[in-house]
Symmetry: C2
Subunit: 201 residues, 2 copies
């Protein structure tokens, strides 16, 4: 019985999140109150508050769910590609997938933007996973004799930092897609140039 | 007479900006109304509105003035340093000066952050000036035979993009100073590695 109650609570929580997302999408984040969401669910506001103590808590849960989806779509590296094309292929696809979700749901982005300042466990997880992809790429490229690098982890951190200008929600939301694409291509070339420097200590 | 009236209006505008900045600093940006600023100035709100149509217009004017100050402090490059130390010296100093103004006046940062999404003429001017410093550094380094680069402008854009992760207000406001310093040092090394790649096309 306790298990069933827990499952029921979890289901209600997901229902609240789904409805909140759709009401936010309709009216924008700032134009929505907990009462609006409760009324759309035919629930009392008190009942919604039982699951989420504030609109911010609700926003964080939505952002978290969204980042989990992103983590799920973060592909492994395509080893069939030539070494020098792998990084660009990966970053371009990732940026395009972010741009798509921004177009489909600007309010979701507003929420991620708002919460991305807070120390969210899921945000850290995403960053770590992203860096681990770069670790894989750098290591493979070095094994193939194309990349030169002494400290793989540090190099992966640098790659991730250099691509923040086209992958971080703040830049995705503020620049035009064409500008981001040009910048992305230029930075890919610049980063590859660093990775292929044979004189690297 | 007309000139005197214009000068008077400009003086009043500056007085309003000074007072607004100090009231924002005291009560935070969101906790301040135009009426608060007017009352601190012993003016009517209508008189303040004559100079700034909204709190956002006021915030933009403050951000603009702040960016103009930044532009003024953006030093030329130090040619007495060895080629490979110039870039790091320049970026580190710039980051530290941003961190100082963040510490001194967090509310000013909140305002810059809020307005940095809008297309501000002064923001673009700052970015252009910053990139022109990178152009100077790359060109000089290439003349000295240390940097290898074909397209100086494009390379400067890449350098600027790679350092956004430690110079853009969003990152400055959201990460700890120590984390930013480590990242800055790592990215400087990584960028120099790209610039010194002799195989660069």
């Amino acid at each position: 019985m306790a298990r069933r109650a827990r499952r029921k609570a979890e289901e209600t929580r997901q229902d609240v999140l789904d409805m909140a997302e759709s009401v936010f999408r309709e009216n924008g984040f700032s134009g929505t109150t907990i009462a609006d969401i409760a009324s759309a669910l035919d629930m009392s506001p008190a009942n919604v508050f039982k699951h989420f103590r504030s609109k911010t808590a609700l926003a964080e849960a939505i952002a978290e769910r969204h980042v989990e989806t992103l983590v799920g779509t973060l592909e492994g590296i395509d080893t069939s590609l030539p070494t020098l094309e792998r990084l660009g292929h990966f970053v371009r696809r990732l940026m395009e997938s972010h741009l798509r979700s921004l177009r489909q749901s600007p309010c979701l982005f507003e929420i991620v933007l708002m919460t991305s300042g807070n120390e969210m466990a899921c945000g850290r997880r995403y960053k770590e996973l992203l860096e681990s992809r770069f670790v894989d790429m750098v290591r493979l490229g070095a094994d193939e004799g194309v990349y030169f690098c002494e400290d793989v982890e540090k190099t992966a951190r640098c790659i991730s930092a250099c691509f923040a200008c086209v992958l971080h929600p703040v830049f995705l939301a503020r620049y035009k897609a064409d500008e981001l694409r040009t910048r992305c291509d230029e930075v890919i070339e610049f980063v590859n140039r660093s990775l292929t420097n044979p004189l690297a200590r």
